[in-house]
Amino acid sequence: MTATALSKMVGSREGGILERVVLAVTFGLVVLFAVFIDGFATTGNLRVVLSNSASLVMLSCGMAVVIISRGLDLSLIAQMVAGATIFSVMVSGGSPASVALLVAIVAMALVGFVNAFLIAYVGISAMLATLASAMFVTGVFRFAILRGEFILLLPKSNPAVMFLAGNILPGVTVPVALMIVTLIATALLLKVSTAGSVIYAMGDNYQAARLTGLPVRRATVIVYVFASITALLAGLVTSAASGAVDFRTVSSGTLLFDVILVVVLGGIPLRGGRGGIRNILIGAALIAVLRNGMTLMNFTTQTQDALRGLVLILAIVIDNYLNPRDTETDTVGDL
């Protein structure tokens, strides 16, 4: 009875047992942390959690759209730092912020387009295509712009950087505002636009979508370019907040890991075809709470990684158990 009540509250229509489990676990953790950790249940901490998860949510929006179309984008983090690099180098060099933003958007859209081209036209698997482009982008940027360094410092006093790190309204930071914009854009793309209809169809059954005559290639391009733009926005707010573009975020893999974690834990199956921003929010809530709680408890990053790994494996096992492969399709042709 509680389960149905909860599902009504969440508005779940189909399946969605995993997201209910995750939601319940998140509530449990919040209660636990609030009782046992000093300073967890404060408005200040809440604001920190929100701001810190802004870029995670933005990246997750991009990744969710890709995964719903039955793709995968391992180059998101590389694009995030590359986009931030272009922007910072240009504003440091004296270009107006609007021009820098435009150039960064065009460059990242190009990366997204190349990803989509490799996947939809050349026919390379999404995992390999985006892995290769991640390595290529990281390599080129570190070689050509950072000259082998890992870190690019931002001009802290630049008005554009100050704007990105500041408040847009009293109490609402720019990252949070951008996060909300990204969430709305994702919802519009998925649920309102024609591309969204194609994205769900191809995620559900790519061959059927293709044979029906749906523009699956065009949708693939839209999906990966959209993911690139979310990565760029995430890169801008992250680097503005920390004052540096750090290429170690790519090589450490933790962030990419968190993004996939958010999507999968939120209940978007890697098979594609299902999910929406509700799932992103649920997944992000758990990861944000977990991150914040573990940091407040002074867990080392190694312990945090280990715990997250455990959580992901658990989630995937539960997901596989709850959404088994259709056994009937396996036996077709036996007659």
Binding site: E14, S197, Y200, Q207, R210, T212, T329, V332, D334, L335
Partner: protein, 498 residues
């Protein structure tokens, strides 16, 4: 001394879902005999073999080996008793050598390469195979791969070898060699079952022949008692003959210009120089055995399959076309309704309305930015009524529907595109009996509206009942063409098999 059958099936039934692939079949295999299994597509030949090889387990009935009742839980159990099956698609590991493949599953912890190779060479020599044991299996021709599989069966001391259409990919010389080999194995006491669509092979090389039809064992007897006509008679039965002489329906006058004309289409090894024309207002049946290249040619026309395209020309309404992706074919008014709706027909997480609506969106969505959901829902509702799709509501997942209604949704998804030509690939497969008639009526009605229809079906009564003109595909070419009046089950089958 009366020999005991090495394999025997008593009253065996195998059901998949609610269809029986094999119904109450009895079958005996004597030691040292070559036994041919013949029958139409879906008659239950493969199922019978898989039961013996332990790949599937009987739903009812008893399987006996050497007079002992056995229950196989996996092919391993069967192979322990000396039963080996050689599949149509060979199961060799392409990255391993011939010798390693022969030894597969029998390796010891430490394998001496030389030992493995010399033992493999012995087996190959005993069978008079000219295959180099150190060659990689992936580099072998189809015929040699099959030989290696047989060698593996012999090496594993198989007493029963089952061959699923062994000659389908072989040249005449290779076929001769294979049957020589089968005869020499037979002399050493090995019993052989082979499935074949080439009736002459069965008549020439088998000791006994069993004929299956619709999952039932029709007859078994010494090969000498049969001839081609008798076999075909058993394969199709009496009731079909009469059905074949259905009164000729009113035929719309054929328009001079075909909707679709294809010439010399070639694709890989499946389609060889296929040429035909499709006329408006007419249902053109495409009969033939599974693997005769029917679905493949449809997918080439649609632009779905491009790799291995070997040339050929396609005209739609007199204009030469060549599609790179199905979306272009759909835009020009061609729709293909696939033979396996679960695999590439419908979207199982989406609702009935969304499934049908996506068909509309694919054709008429154009450069629209926003999905017109309300409009798509109204149109979907219209089509649900037109095709009398029975459901509790168009917002329900399509997966909740029965097979027949699912198929109607897939058909609606294509017909909503207002196509000039629709290719129906096995449209009534896995469909409940009531819906079969309705689906045929839908197809008829659609053709009557002046569009072209290709109906691919492996089920002869469907072809005979529904089509105005019948093309018979064989080995990737059109082997024969019949008008509705000329066609009979026997004449189609005769043209379709070798």
């Amino acid at each position: 001394m009366i020999a005991q059958p090495v394999v025997s099936l008593e009253n065996v039934t195998k059901t998949y879902g609610n269809t029986a692939a094999l119904a109450g079949a009895n079958f005996d295999l004597m030691p040292g005999e070559i036994h041919a299994l013949v029958g139409e597509n879906g008659a239950g030949k493969s199922t019978l073999c898989k039961l013996i090889a332990g790949v599937v387990t009987p739903s009812e009935g008893v399987l006996m080996i050497d007079g002992q009742t056995v229950t196989f839980s996996s092919p391993k159990d069967a192979s322990r008793l000396g039963i080996s099956m050689v599949y149509q698609e060979t199961s060799l590991v392409p990255q391993l050598t011939v010798a390693q493949n022969i030894f597969l599953g029998r390796e010891r912890v430490f394998n001496s390469v030389r030992h493995v190779r010399s033992a493999a060479r012995q087996v190959l020599q005993r069978l008079n195979f000219k295959v180099d044991p150190s060659q990689l299996a992936g580099t072998l021709s189809a015929a040699k791969r099959q030989m290696v599989e047989i060698a593996r069966a012999v090496f594993n001391q198989a007493r029963v070898i089952i061959l699923d259409e062994p000659t389908a990919a072989l040249t005449p010389e290779e076929t001769d060699h294979l049957f020589d080999l089968m005869q020499s194995l037979q002399k050493s006491g090995v019993a052989i079952i082979f499935i074949s669509h080439a009736l002459e092979e069965a008549l020439t090389y088998a000791d006994r022949i069993s004929v299956l039809r619709n999952g039932r064992m029709m007859t078994t007897g010494p090969a000498a008692d049969f001839d081609r006509a008798k076999l075909i008679h058993h394969m199709i039965g009496d009731e079909l003959k009469e059905q074949g002489k259905m009164p000729v329906a009113r035929r719309p006058p054929r328009s001079a210009l075909p909707v679709l004309r294809v010439e010399n289409i070639r694709m890989g090894s499946m389609v060889n120089n296929m040429s035909f024309s499709i006329f408006p207002g007419e249902i053109t049946g495409l009969a033939g055995l599974i693997g005769s290249g029917r679905s493949e040619v449809a997918k080439v026309i649609m632009g779905h399959t491009k790799r291995n395209f070997g040339g050929g020309r396609i005209w739609l309404d007199g204009r030469e076309v060549r599609y790179g992706v199905p979306a272009q074919a759909v835009a020009d008014g061609i729709a293909y309704i696939s033979e396996d709706r679960k695999l590439d027909g419908f979207f199982d997480t989406l609702s009935i309305a969304e499934n049908i609506g996506l068909g509309w969106l694919a054709k008429f969505g154009g450069r629209r930015l926003i999905t017109p959901r309300a409009r798509m829902r109204t149109l979907a509702r219209e089509w649900v009524d037109r095709l009398s799709i029975r459901s509790i509501g168009v917002e329900r997942p399509v997966l909740y529907l029965s097979g027949g209604n699912q198929q109607k949704v897939v058909i609606a998804k294509s017909l909503i595109q207002n196509p000039r030509l629709v290719i129906f690939d096995e449209p009534t497969r896995g469909v409940d009996v009531g819906a079969i008639a309705e689906i045929r009526q839908i197809i008829r009605g659609f053709a009557d509206s002046g569009a072209g229809v290709i109906l691919i079906s492996s089920y002869l009564p469907e072809i005979l009942d529904t089509c105005d003109r019948i093309l018979v595909a064989k080995s990737g070419t059109i082997a024969a063409e019949f008008s509705r009046a000329e066609a009979s089950a026997a004449s189609i089958l005769n043209a379709a098999i070798h």
